[in-house]
């Protein structure tokens, strides 16, 4: 046994000691896992979201000592946006802390699909804010899924509403051609069903154009757009695909003001690489804009200025950073809701699920939390796991995102039947008995 070996042994013993010590003080803590991707093709979008989510939790710990005095334990696991690594991370983290993971937010539609199968068995809720299965807003079938703030079908509907408003009414949609340039994955395909349903109702021609992942190569797709001359291009990309699409649009001279991105295609990292070509490009907002609000003061005071944040200074206040903040806020407020019923101790996944389902944030409460101007009121129920169907549109002026529209509300006469039919098909396929929402309290 050489020096090296004994050193290694010492290191192992020491780390075991450190682990034991942390385990001892973790008895009264709430564990929140973070499935993040800070590497790989989607890292430009994954990093600000992960930083925002982590910073809000650090801020709560530093300012309030956690949630109602229960300190939050937070740990990240790198998924690289890959489904199998995401599943591994989920398995690794779901049992941590005294009561297990409170909720998961994988920020990946693929991982969400995989975890949707596992969450009911493990009794861990999934908060998929603005992504994931659109039909999972039906809480009767998807008891453990919470696509808070909006699904892709809401987004698709609002996108069409916005275009109709720009053109001067829904009757102007008739005979027009609207293309959807989408990431060829469950994520990108999600809005197609809603856009097809609306094309039947409003009479526009729908042209879906897939882009193979990761989407950095789009020459042939833009050639197709040049030939087909759609009147509007909806962009449903993620990561490098967004900036590539905006640049390509510039290269073929497609008017950028006739492009509208989904809310996963409207962040700084999507337009900055395209430079001047991105000017006047528009995107939907998952309600919240870029910029700094009341909550950022506390973030700055308790986290960033203390050197506890991983975020670069310019990142704080970006679209996806803010989205991370909101994700953690909705998650921790759900835990607070659950604590009001079950007591101020670490909540189990099952209790957190109850908390999310009964989450009710009024405009006053949102103001109190420092999120005024970022999101509207949200109230969930057993039947509605989305909570709100509001969205706005913002536009890139070459330097920053500017909000250019008023609030739109998703039209449930179009979305609801779609949700019902696909959720029922899912329940049948998986042999799930639907909950009777009229009997849930």
């Amino acid at each position: 046994m050489g020096i090296r070996k004994s050193r290694l042994l010492g290191a192992a013993l020491l780390s075991a000691g450190v682990l034991a010590a942390t385990a001892a003080e973790a008895q009264s803590e709430q564990f929140i896992p973070g499935l993040v991707y800070r590497t790989g093709a989607y890292a430009p979008n994954g990093i600000p979201f992960a930083d925002g989510a982590a910073d809000y939790i650090s801020m709560l710990n530093a300012r309030d000592g956690g949630i109602n005095g229960v300190k939050i334990l937070f740990e990240e696991c790198e998924t690289g946006y890959a489904t199998d690594r995401g599943v591994e991370c989920y398995e690794r983290l779901k049992g941590k802390g005294p009561t297990g993971a409170a909720y998961f937010s994988p920020l990946s539609t693929g991982i969400t699909f995989a975890l949707t199968e596992k969450a009911p068995g493990d009794k861990v809720p999934l908060i998929t804010m603005g992504y994931g299965r659109a039909d999972s807003r039906d809480g009767a079938v998807f008891a453990w899924n919470f696509p808070l703030l909006g699904t892709y079908w809401t987004a698709a509907n609002v996108a069409i509403q916005y275009i109709a408003k720009e053109w001067g009414g829904f009757d102007k949609l008739k005979g027009k051609k609207i293309a959807l340039l989408y990431h060829d994955s469950p994520y990108g395909k999600e809005p197609i069903a809603a856009l097809e349903a609306m094309s039947k109702k409003y009479g526009y021609e729908f042209l879906p154009i897939p882009v193979p992942a990761p989407g950095s190569e789009q020459k042939s797709q833009w050639l197709q757009i040049r030939q087909q001359r759609p009147d509007y291009v909806l962009l449903w990309g993620w990561g490098v695909m967004n900036s590539a699409a905006v640049s390509e649009a510039g290269n073929v001279n497609y008017p950028r003001e006739h492009m509208l991105g989904g809310w996963c295609s409207g962040a700084e990292s999507d337009v900055l690489p395209a430079g001047d070509k991105a000017k006047v490009y528009k995107a939907l907002m998952l309600q919240h804009p870029a910029g700094k609000f009341a909550v950022h003061k506390d973030i700055d005071k308790f986290v960033v200025s203390q050197g506890k944040s991983l975020a670069k200074p310019e990142e704080v206040g970006q679209v996806l950073y803010n989205r991370g903040l909101i994700n953690s806020m909705l998650g921790t407020e759900s835990i607070r809701t659950a604590m009001a019923k079950f007591g101020n101790k670490p909540m189990t996944g099952e209790q957190v699920r109850w908390g999310i389902e009964h989450l009710d944030l009024s405009a006053d409460r949102i103001k109190q939390l420092g999120f005024e101007g970022m999101i509207g009121p949200i109230k969930l129920s057993c039947a509605d796991h989305e909570g709100t169907r509001l969205s706005r549109v913002h536009q890139w002026d070459g330097k920053e995102w500017k909000v250019i529209s008023d609030w739109f509300t998703g039209d449930d006469s179009i979305i609801e039947p779609l949700v019902k039919s696909t959720a029922e098909a899912y329940a049948k396929e998986k042999k799930i008995t639907e909950r009777d929402c009229s009997k849930e309290s």
Binding site: A11, L14, S15, V18, L19, V36, R38, T39, A43, I47, A50, E76, C77, E78, G80, T83, D84, V87, E88, E91, R92, G95, T109, G110, F113, A114, T116, E117, K118, G121, R133, A134, D135, D184, S185, P186, Y187, K189, E190, I192, A193, P210, A213, L310, T422, Y426, E429, K430, K431
Partner: protein, 358 residues
Amino acid sequence: MLYREAGQFKASYRADQAIFPIAQDRFVAMALLVIAFLVVPFVATEYTYRAVLIPTVILSLAAIGLNVLMGYCGQVSLGSGAFMGVGAYAAYNLAVRLPFLNPFVCVLLGGFVAAAIGIVFGIPSLRIKGFYLACATLAAQFFGDWAFLRIKWITNDTPSGSVNAPPLQLFGLDLSSPTANYLVSLVFAVVLGLGAKNIVRGHIGRQWMAIRDMDIAAEIIGVLPMYAKLSAFAVSSFLIGVAGALWAFVYLGSWEPAAFDIDRSFELMFMVIIGGLGSILGSALGAIFIVLMPIFLNQALPPLGDVVGWKISTATVSHFESMIFGALIVFFLVVEPHGLARLWLTGKEKLRLWPFPH
């Protein structure tokens, strides 16, 4: 000393041709089986099942399948991810369209569908070899990717193109617990692995190896290249297809076409190369290495960093993981180009002589 076979006389051809002719090997193999079936279920946690054991077992089976083709028959294939996908989607469609079928019957039938598709994509191998065949099988991969994404019938018209496995049960028993999942995958892997081992030891396997070593010579001594090559494609695709169906039904539960993309093909190929071409044991070793090493590095690095007082961020861990993993692959290939299986053989030789050097 440990591997002294002196005194072990074989009195029949049967004994001489056994899979494990040496008593010590038999003992170790039996012990491993007993541990895998009887000890592991009592000690494994849910995490080890879901993140470690189940993927390792299923990918071992897939690697065995690819090894039949690449290692034994010498036909390079870059389409194994697609064949896994064929197995998975065939099993899914059978389960959805014929709901009276048991999911595990669907898994096996999925393997047969993959075998049929494998034969179709194996036809070019009758005329082309080496790198050119690699290109032809790459076409299978891209065709698979395209079909799973574009042909809506395959995904049962789901809006997102992501599909779900049916609930796993057998004779009314619920098999969705991690222990049951693991045991089911293990039964599939052991039974089919044993079958593959016996095929490669028999006349079919010898034909494959003859083709691999020199196809013209093999043809002259009476091996039919068409029969040998296509049977290798069929058996290989069957094993890979079953593994793909298990991957989808047992491990993922819900999947999208990206689960069977070209990365999966490369992963399987690395398993076979690192484990050892032309070795069933090597396939399993390769799968263990490729599945476990990244997870191990990912978990071991942060505590090690703590020891030296360095707080490693998630991103840094991930970068280090890739770097060390890549370096280890290069290291193993330089030290032992014939794979981990050969390392084991060398070790066995050493053990035979130990403690005497000569």
